[in-house]
């Protein structure tokens, strides 16, 4: 446990983007838009740069928390500023910091009004999400977890589409409901553990079965809404459709992961017996998400909605992987989370590229885009294939691992899960066919220009990530190995009060 004098890597990863965001706000209104964009790009690059040591200096051999920082924050309530990462949380901080760069670039030309506020919201959001993934104190986690709603609420409501106000408020209230229930359980755990908000202490705390089940249910509401799991997913299509491209990217790539991460950090280790007891329930919900939501995605006529539903289906895989209590399942779920972070970001960016030119998200308004934008069509093809889970792309790795692990546990579960390979391919490729192939659909498509240098960089970066992860996922699983082993060992012991 290091209680050093200097500012730790994690603190930097959290506070650098936030401070740059505040700085952008101070620089004033739209007069200085160009400067604000540049500042935002520098801030996001800097934010990513300060997070790199997390990867390079990470010790994959241990499951203990690393890069720990501990300071007393509100001693009166025993709340600590306690940060730390393990193999489960570390990759997400990098993913988040990386995505922030893409988001800043994606909004570069599209956002013309209140540029400073837009960029600042994303940077502040990025810092807060890093906080979520690194907090080891229950209340600190909660603070970040809630605070990150505020920028996203403003992003959806201020720069979103037609129905943005409804979507923003729905998004906020839905997620708030879950987290308030979690707050009460955090307080309950505080008193049960004799006055500690330390998450790691809670992991070791023996609890009766009833208490475990109630806690699990409270955590379920908090995190299932975020994931989102069927049937509490209905806010997501609305939010995705109305959010500006950057907002959709952050929502899909990062905030959904917060929910799944919450299961691994809170619900499962704090209430392991309840997790086993309710595993069937969780698996059922996950499979419904995979199969039913997959079918729902098939009939969408709005591209963003289609990707939103496909996100829900993919996240169903993640929770399925978690609740079969197999090493390969959990690791597969984690890989799927990161891969989905890249792929969904890429898919939304692709839709954003088209939307910027035609101002429509309807599949029917397109057709024959490949004729006008060949380079874009190639990228879009790669990401569509990855979304469908083509081997060689990152989309395949996670799904395959989860299916493999599920077969060991229950053949029929695995059978149902495998249908995603069919449905996923069906809805993604069918959409791709209708949008990209065929003769040029209408005059709008006729006028489309191929991607510019900025868009190329964004998509190329993502393409590299998707392919690299698909072809050689080993470094990532190696990082997670020790922590996942540790988690499984922890879950195999009952915590019931004797």
């Amino acid at each position: 446990m290091t209680e050093g004098l200097g500012i730790g890597v994690l603190s930097l990863a959290i506070w650098v983007p936030i401070l740059v965001g505040v700085l952008i706000l101070i620089t004033g209104g739209d007069k200085n838009a160009e400067g604000q964009r540049t500042l935002a790009l520098l801030g996001s690059l800097l934010g990513f740069a300060v997070a790199i040591p997390l990867w390079t200096d990470f010790d994959a051999g241990t499951a203990a928390m690393q890069f720990e920082e501990l300071a007393r924050w509100v001693p009166m309530f025993k709340i600590n500023y306690h940060l730390g990462v393990d193999g489960i949380s570390m990759p997400f901080i990098l993913l988040n910091s990386f995505t922030t760069i893409l988001v800043v670039l994606a909004g570069w030309q599209v956002i013309k009004e209140r540029v400073g506020q837009y960029m600042a919201a994303f940077l502040i959001q990025s810092g807060l999400i890093n906080g979520v993934f690194s907090a080891l104190d229950g209340i600190l986690f909660y603070v970040y977890f809630e605070a990150m709603l505020i920028p996203l609420y403003l992003i959806i409501g201020m720069w979103g589409g037609q129905n943005r106000v409804y979507a923003a408020i729905k998004f906020f209230l839905y997620t708030l409901l879950g987290s308030l229930l979690m707050l009460v359980s955090l307080l309950y755990l505080f008193f049960q553990s004799g006055g500690s908000f330390e998450i790691l202490t809670w992991h070791r705390l023996p609890l009766a079965m009833t208490a475990q089940i109630l806690l699990f249910v409270a955590f379920f509401f908090a995190f299932a809404v975020k994931v989102p799991m069927w049937p509490v997913h209905t806010w997501l299509p609305d939010a995705h459709v109305e959010a500006p491209t950057g907002g959709s990217v952050v929502l899909a790539a990062i905030t959904l992961k917060v929910g799944a991460y919450g299961f691994l950090r809170f619900a499962m280790p704090i209430a392991p017996d309840a997790s086993h007891y309710l595993a069937g329930f969780m698996v059922t919900l996950s499979l419904i998400a995979v199969v039913y939501i997959g079918l729902v995605a098939l009939v969408q006529s709005d591209m963003k909605k289609l990707i939103a539903y496909s996100s829900i289906a993919h996240m169903g895989f993640v929770t399925l992987g978690f609740f079969i209590f197999e090493q390969m399942g959990i690791e597969g779920g984690l890989i799927q989370m990161i891969s989905h972070g890249f792929i969904s970001a890429a898919m939304f960016l692709c839709v954003g590229v088209m939307y910027d030119r035609v101002h429509s998200r309807q599949i029917a308004d397109y057709g024959g885009v490949a004729n006008k934008m060949p380079m874009f069509a190639a990228f879009f093809m790669l990401f569509a294939m990855a979304n469908a889970g083509l081997p060689g792309t990152s989309g395949f790795v996670g799904e395959f691992m989860v299916i493999l692990a599920t077969v060991k546990v229950n053949f029929w579960w695995a059978f149902l899960a495998t249908t995603t390979l069919i449905f996923g391919a069906a809805y993604t490729l069918w959409m791709y066919k209708r949008v990209v192939f065929g003769p040029v659909g209408n005059a709008h498509v006729e006028e489309m220009r191929d991607i510019n240098g900025r868009e190329f960089i964004v998509l190329a970066l993502l393409a590299v990530c998707v392919l690299a992860m698909g072809l050689y996922p080993l470094p990532l699983t190696e990082v997670m190995h020790a922590s996942v082993d540790n988690l499984l060992a922890h879950l195999s012991h009952s915590k019931l009060v004797p």
């Binding site: 009166m76 809630e146 505020i150 409501g157 201020m158 923003a168 229930l181």
Partner: protein, 484 residues
């Protein structure tokens, strides 16, 4: 027991009260002679600063009794009084231009405000039912007059009338309860009453009976359901500057009032009043949060929000623990801070002949005045109890005290109503940020003083949220020193 001989040392703990009284009278006289309103205004501000200095330097830690035990100067009183001065000071600064534009910038306003402040100080420091009552009436009468201050305004007059009639009724209830308890215990002094009740009273039924009257009277003064009917009308009808005042400092006095009666005087009967407070708190949370959703007038909406906040504050007191009392005090102070900022902004925007009354008047404020919009948004998020703003810690600490005292179900109820409450605060943020402004929205002229104080006020909500330890520790310490 009746050693009522005054000595000079009796006066020392009451120095701030005496100072404010003398200054208020002086300003009243001076205002007749001089035509310089600015002079009265400045003197009023200086009075508050002077009182703050007196209170601060006379704070000794241990409770000091004066006037034969009728008056007490303890840490809780000192902290609350300092906050009261601060609130009154802010009210004066925020409302200067508002009052001037409407021809209300008169000596009477300052004098009434000072007398109200004095009333609150007396309430905060009372250790005797009569002293409490005198303080309360001084405050209430000043407030009635202030509400009707805009004499030609029919709505304000109606509000004042309603306030007066219901307030008088509540005072009657209080007096009735006090007399029953006097009959039962033979004393009006709070400490002695606690000791007598602790030893056991002859007729427990009568104790409950007296308590019901007292709690009903308290409910009126706090403005909690089901005694909340006057709150929305008075908040809406009064001139915004007066609403700003009613919505801030008196909440501190009402908190002290409740603490003095229920905890200092009737702690041994805690089991009796806990249930009553629980009913009032839950009703306030429900009515306050649900009714606020439907409002289109911001002052009325904030009135309902006050009701729910006061209900939340009661939750801390009803937990019946030391921790609960401390966090209630924290909650009251935080609420006053947020309320000052919010109403301060309403007052600030009501300039150049424009009344910012309807929620629609705030449409698209972000495009006109991004900084003011940001302040308002921070205050709204804080009221909704979202981190990282200080309102979150206020709610968290009360919930923690509740769960710690075994009231898990109440904590869950409180949390669910907070969710409902979040909706209408979010709606204000929506109006500020997502809507486009009216074409006829007024150009805001600069008021450096109130703008600067508003900025400090808004930032305090954020900064105290990032580092809440100091204020919480102060409340706990004050409570510790007062309750030993």
């Amino acid at each position: 027991m009746h050693a009522m001989t005054f000595t000079f040392s009796d006066l020392v703990p009451a120095l701030p009260e005496i100072f404010v009284l003398v200054m208020a009278c002086a300003i009243l006289l001076l205002d007749v002679i001089s035509k310089q309103r600015t002079l009265s205004y400045t003197l009023t501000l200086l009075t508050l600063v002077g009182a703050a200095a007196l209170t601060f330097f006379s704070a000794s830690g241990a409770p000091q009794y004066a006037f034969g035990g009728q008056f007490v100067d303890d840490m809780m009183a000192d902290v609350l009084k300092l906050m009261t001065y601060l609130a009154s000071f802010a009210v004066l600064v925020y409302s200067r231009v508002y009052l001037t534009e409407r021809g209300l910038f008169k000596g009477e306003f300052f004098v009434l405000l000072l007398f109200a402040t004095l009333g609150m100080m007396v309430m905060i420091s009372a250790n005797h039912f009569l002293v409490l009552y005198v303080g309360l009436e001084l405050l209430s009468l000043s407030l009635y007059a202030l509400v009707a201050f805009h004499r030609d305004n029919a709505r304000a007059t109606e509000a004042a009338m309603k306030y007066f009639v219901l307030g008088a009724l509540a005072s009657g209830l209080l007096l009735y309860g006090m007399s029953i308890l006097y009959g039962l215990t033979g004393t009006l002094e709070l400490n002695k009453m606690a000791a007598t009740v602790y030893m056991g009273v002859g007729n427990p039924m009568l104790l409950s009976f007296g308590l019901v009257f007292l709690v009903a009277g308290l409910g009126f003064k706090l403005g909690v359901a089901p005694f909340h009917m006057w709150v929305p009308d008075v908040y809406q009808g009064a001139p915004s500057a007066v609403t700003l005042f009613i919505g801030s400092a008196p909440k501190l006095a009402a908190f002290a009032f409740t603490m003095r009666i229920l905890v200092d005087g009737l702690q041994p009967a805690v089991a009796e009043w806990q249930g009553m407070l629980a009913v009032m708190a839950v009703l306030s949370l429900a009515i306050g949060n649900l009714a606020a959703i439907m409002q289109t007038n911001i002052k009325r909406m904030l009135a309902y929000s006050t009701i729910s906040h006061m209900g939340f504050m009661l939750l801390g007191i009803l937990s019946g623990t030391f921790a609960g009392y401390s966090v209630s005090m924290f909650y009251a102070i935080v609420y006053v801070l947020m309320s000052l900022g919010t109403f301060g902004l309403v007052v600030y925007l009501s300039q150049n002949g424009y009344e910012a009354e309807s929620l629609d008047d705030f449409k698209g404020l972000n495009q006109r005045q991004p900084w003011l919009a940001a302040l308002m948004a921070m205050l709204m998020f804080s009221m909704a109890g979202l981190p990282p703003f200080v309102g979150f810690y206020a709610k968290l600490s009360v919930l923690q005290a509740l769960v710690g005292a075994g009231w898990l179900w109440l904590a869950l109820v409180a949390v669910l109503f907070s969710l409902i409450g979040a909706y209408y605060y979010l709606r204000v943020v929506k109006i500020l940020y997502f809507d486009t402004p009216h074409a006829d929205a007024p150009i805001l002229s600069g008021q450096a003083d109130s703008r600067a104080l508003l900025s400090i006020n808004g930032l305090a909500v954020l900064l105290l949220g990032l580092a809440p330890q100091g204020l919480i520790a102060l409340c706990v310490y004050a409570m510790q020193m007062s309750m030993q």
